[in-house]
């Protein structure tokens, strides 16, 4: 790459690490400046000049003055700008309009807002023009700012606040011209519940695409991962290089994939770095901390690198016996809407098959049912098989009793016994619970999860959700308790089974609503069962832990996929339908 000049701009201390020719306000330094169509003035200089004077040039670029508290007057040339609101944080004297006297870029703040202004001396007065501003959350205080020229045509403005959970950084990339414009505004938010990695950002100017014009690079360090976000200097203005962050993440994910067999620990660490960077950077994670121009998160869309990293981390978690964690990681596949490659899928499948069961599980045949059957326990010894011929099986004796329609009480019913969940459907809207009166044909739907924007619906669908997608475990007074992998969600519904507020995702410190009427969860919510293609995970919600992995030795001998599953009220027995067999699993 042909480098005209590069200037790194770190938080503390700010460093100049590379450079180019002395330009900008330094007279005549950029004599070879190219003309850019559309009159774009911030195209930078011709980078074909020798790089010998890099350090000298970088050191010569001016840095603005910073002010103490409550400074309301800013000296601009021989005049004074008196701020109408707030107080000054920093100002850089530079020529914006190409005319004497010299002008300034001024950053000021009050408790609610930070403003960037251009100040122009006009006789004894100074006129100020607002370039941009942003609002500050109430919990972010003690702003500091620095204005620095980073090229002949660009200035960088950094503003930092101390917030409740850490530092909040705002970077403005501003053109140096008569009417300065914001080319980009990058915001780095403090850590949140899903992303706690330290994020540092440095601005650099370099010719990324070797077209002879300075491009801007924001080097992001998220934990130990470096991701360069570049803005290419094009005739129409800056264009972000959209190959990032996927290119960087892919390099890391591929490295993790290749080293997994030889060094699974290191591979897992690298994979987790990729996932952490994705969460911090990408809008699709829902917890992004890096934003551009006021939007939160970069649009990463489908990320094969993330899916691959999730595969490696999942396989590592299964090896380590962290089964609930593995299920959590499996949601990455769904969330990123990427179908893992056959190799990735088989790596995870093999890991599950080889997973060391926590307990010796045995199972026995209870009955046969060729079609799909709903299973639930009436008590610890009686299982209801609600299939073509509804029946109750006394587990201790094996006695079967036919049940009439009136004797079937759906397992997932509301506290008043009026409504029941009939099914979970996958539609173009997402996943929905189909709810209707216990006796009657009417039904309505309650959204459990909206369809991910990553996976738009190409053709209309309305099919039953599989046992591995969203399932409703039970119905508590508060609403439906739904699960997908390790994730538990309460979907509030009112007395009529209608939605009653936003769904609440429960973390492991949150107690579950109670009592719960359901097949796959105990009434007190202490234990529930998660089906898996290769076995069954039992999770103790209160005690936490990595989950109990149960897989009878002859699991594969029973043909067919897992269709239905139920746990006994005491949480010690599991009934499941695999293929056409109804089996009782105990351990």
């Amino acid at each position: 790459m042909k480098l005209c000049r590069s200037q790194r701009w770190a938080a503390v201390p700010l460093m100049f690490v590379s450079g180019g020719l002395l330009i900008g306000g330094l007279a005549g330094a950029c004599s070879g400046r190219k003309q850019v169509p559309f009159g774009l003035q911030d195209a930078g200089q011709d980078s074909s000049a020798p790089a010998a004077d890099l350090g000298e040039e970088a050191a010569a670029l001016p840095v603005g003055e910073t002010f103490g508290p409550d400074q309301v007057e800013v000296r601009v040339a021989d005049s004074t700008l008196v701020l109408q609101t707030g107080y000054a944080l920093s100002a850089l004297q530079l020529d914006l309009d190409g005319a004497e006297p010299i002008d300034a870029l001024v950053v000021s703040a009050d408790p609610h807002e930070v403003r960037l202004q251009a100040a122009y001396p006009r006789g004894l007065d100074v006129s100020a023009r607002l370039i941009d501003s942003f609002l500050v959350p109430a919990h972010c205080v003690e702003p500091t700012a620095e204005v620095r020229q980073i090229s002949s045509s660009l200035a960088g403005v950094r503003v930092e606040h101390s917030c409740e959970t850490g530092k909040r950084t705002n970077l403005w990339l501003v053109t140096i011209e008569a009417q300065p414009r914001v080319r980009e505004r990058i915001t780095v938010l403090p850590p949140n519940g899903q992303s706690s990695a330290a994020i540092e950002i440095e601005l650099a100017v370099e010719d990324r695409d070797t077209d002879g014009y300075d491009d801007v690079v924001a080097n992001l360090r998220i934990g130990d991962t470096d991701i360069p976000l570049a803005w290419l200097n094009r005739p129409g203005g800056f264009a972000r290089d959209v190959s990032q962050p996927e290119a960087s993440l892919k390099g890391l994910a591929d490295g993790a994939w290749e080293s997994f067999s030889s060094n699974p620990g290191s591979a897992n660490d690298r994979a987790l770095e990729v996932l952490g960077a994705f969460v911090a950077l990408c809008r699709e994670s829902g917890a992004a901390r890096v934003g551009l121009m006021g939007t939160q998160g970069l649009q990463c869309q489908q990320s094969p690198a993330t899916a691959r990293a999730a595969t490696v981390a999942m396989a590592a978690a299964i090896r380590q016996g962290k089964f609930v964690r593995a299920l959590e990681l499996q949601r990455w596949w769904q969330n990123s809407a990427i179908q893992p490659s056959p190799e990735e899928r088989s790596l995870v499948q093999a890991a599950w098959r080889k997973a060391k069961a926590n307990a010796v599980a045995t199972w026995r045949l209870v009955d046969n049912e060729s079609g799909w059957a709903s299973l639930y326990f009436q008590d610890d010894d009686s299982l209801v098989i609600d299939g073509r011929a509804p029946r109750q099986v006394q587990l201790s004796t094996g006695v079967k009793t036919r049940l009439s329609e009136a004797e079937i009480a759906p397992a997932i019913r509301d506290p008043s016994g009026r409504f029941a969940v009939r099914a979970v459907r996958a539609t173009c809207a997402g996943f929905e619970a189909e709810i209707g009166p216990i006796r009657g044909k009417q039904s309505h739907r309650v959204p459990i999860e909206k369809r991910s924007a990553n996976a738009p619906c190409k053709t209309p669908i309305d099919r039953p959700a599989t046992a591995f997608e969203w399932a409703v475990l039970g119905w508590a007074p508060q609403g439906l308790v739904a699960a997908s992998g390790d994730l538990l969600r309460v979907v509030p519904v009112n007395e009529l089974g209608k939605p009653a507020g936003r769904p609440i995702d429960l973390d492991t410190t949150s107690p579950l609503p109670a009592p719960i009427h359901g097949a796959r969860i105990t009434a007190d919510g202490a234990r529930y069962v998660i089906p898996h293609a290769e076995g069954v995970v039992v999770r103790d919600w209160r005690e936490g832990g990595s989950g109990l992995w149960l897989r009878p030795g002859d699991w594969d001998a029973v043909q067919g996929e897992l269709r239905s599953i139920a746990i006994s009220p005491n949480g010690r027995k599991i009934a499941l339908q695999k293929g056409s067999e109804i089996r009782l699993l105990s351990w």
Partner: protein
């Protein structure tokens, strides 16, 4: 008007009158629909414009509001022992006097049961008319406990619950750190949730107009159907539960130290600067005088027009709500570790030293006995003259205000997540 309308003959022969009578009959028949069985429904859209769908039936709004404000009939005729009130909430009544019509244990009580939650229980347990105990915890759970301490149902908010519940008729209302006000049926099913613009730290209060007042980033007035009537924003977050003045004013304290009185329409009646953040709710005595504590350690008496009458200085922050005994004595704890009794003229009547900061508000039973917890791990019972009758070692800080049940059981929370019942 045609004078024939007033003659008896006109009554017999006027076709217009016959028509009018017919219309009257139709109107009367239609108005009778209010008492007829309601139409089944699943949503408001299935009901006529003047009705809403409530619990599966199309009903008139006023009818539903009146029903929601009434307590349900107790299934067990032996309970409750005192007449049911339309609302139970923090500090007993909308004036926050802390007075209870029930009698607590005069001598050393014994633990009846403890229900364990996963985090600090800051809220005061509230007892419903059927004896069910309602309380939230900082682990995000809101529980309904049977009188024997067993779990009736649990609501999971996913975020901290600081405020005490308001049991208003057949609704249970509380705010959460999920930035919403939640209304549940007595069975624990959500009736409605009202999104607010900030977290809720203080209990809601039912006004005489049937509206629920709650604070977050200002004060909100909501009816029992969850409809927002007004929001009066404040400069910063509000942590003091609204108190209702007999004149109808809604009084809140702000963390900038302003005591604000709002009219029932949300307009500001007056505001007075107390010179210290107001973290606890204010209270109102029988003569309409208002009391509030500040983090500057003062208890301030304010008249109904917002004029400061006196200030009483304690040794440290006052974050509790001043309770008011039947003789007008103001009882309040301070972070200096003392419980103060102040007469209505602002003079110290007595004080009792505890071994820790006093964050909880005091409750006063039917015999004038005072119950208050301290951060010295004890719950205190003090007689009206300032003598400690007994103290009970909870083993944890008690920042939760005591609730006195109809059978004399004392309910309170502790910092280890326990909900305790003493008899």
């Amino acid at each position: 008007m045609d004078p024939r309308w007033y003659s008896p003959g006109a009554l017999r022969y006027s076709p217009q009158l016959l028509l009018a009578l017919l219309v009257l009959l139709m109107v009367a028949a239609c108005s009778g629909a209010r008492s007829r069985p309601s139409t089944p429904c699943m949503s408001d859209s299935e009901c006529r414009a003047d009705r809403i769908c409530h619990e599966g039936k199309c009903r008139f709004v006023e009818e539903v509001l009146a029903e929601l404000a009434m307590p349900p009939v107790a299934p067990d005729r032996t309970e409750p022992r005192v007449a049911p009130r339309s609302a139970n909430g923090f500090m007993g009544d909308a004036a926050h006097t802390g007075r209870s019509e029930n009698r607590g244990p005069p001598s050393n009580p014994s633990p009846a049961w403890t229900y364990q939650t996963g985090a600090r229980v800051f809220a005061s347990p509230i007892v419903g008319n059927d004896g069910t105990v309602y309380v939230g915890s900082l682990d995000g759970q809101f529980v309904a406990l049977n009188p024997d301490g067993s779990l009736k149902w649990r609501y999971s908010a996913g975020q901290k619950i600081y405020p005490s519940a308001l049991v208003a008729g057949s609704s249970i209302i509380f705010g959460t750190h999920q930035q919403e006000l939640v209304s549940l049926s007595l069975r624990g099913q959500p009736r409605w949730k009202l999104p607010l613009q900030d977290v809720v730290d203080a209990s809601a209060t039912l006004g005489p107009d049937g509206r629920v007042y709650v604070v977050a980033n200002g004060a909100y007035a909501v009816d029992l159907l969850g409809r927002l009537h007004w929001h009066k924003p404040t400069a910063d977050h509000v942590r003091s539960a609204p108190v209702i003045h007999p004149s109808g004013l809604v009084v809140i304290g702000t963390i900038e130290g302003s005591l604000m009185a709002l009219r029932p329409d949300g307009s500001l009646a007056w505001s007075v600067q107390l010179r210290g953040a107001i973290e606890g709710a204010a209270s109102v005595d029988d003569d309409g005088r208002i009391y509030a504590g500040t983090v500057r350690g003062e208890v301030v008496q304010v008249d109904p027009e917002g004029k400061i009458l006196w200030r009483f200085k304690t040794g440290d922050e006052v974050r509790a709500t001043p309770a008011i005994a039947r003789d007008g004595t103001v009882v309040v704890g301070s972070y200096d570790g003392n419980v103060y009794a102040i007469d209505p003229s602002g003079d110290l009547r007595w004080k009792v030293a505890t071994g820790g900061r006093v964050r909880a508000s005091a409750r006063i039973d039917a015999d004038g006995r005072i119950y208050v917890g301290s951060q010295d791990n004890f719950l205190y019972c003090i007689d009206p003259s300032g003598s400690v009758l007994w103290r009970y070692n909870v083993g944890q800080d008690v920042d939760s205000t005591v609730e006195i049940g109809s059978d004399g059981t004392l309910y309170f929370g502790s910092d280890d997540g326990g909900v305790h019942a003493l008899r």
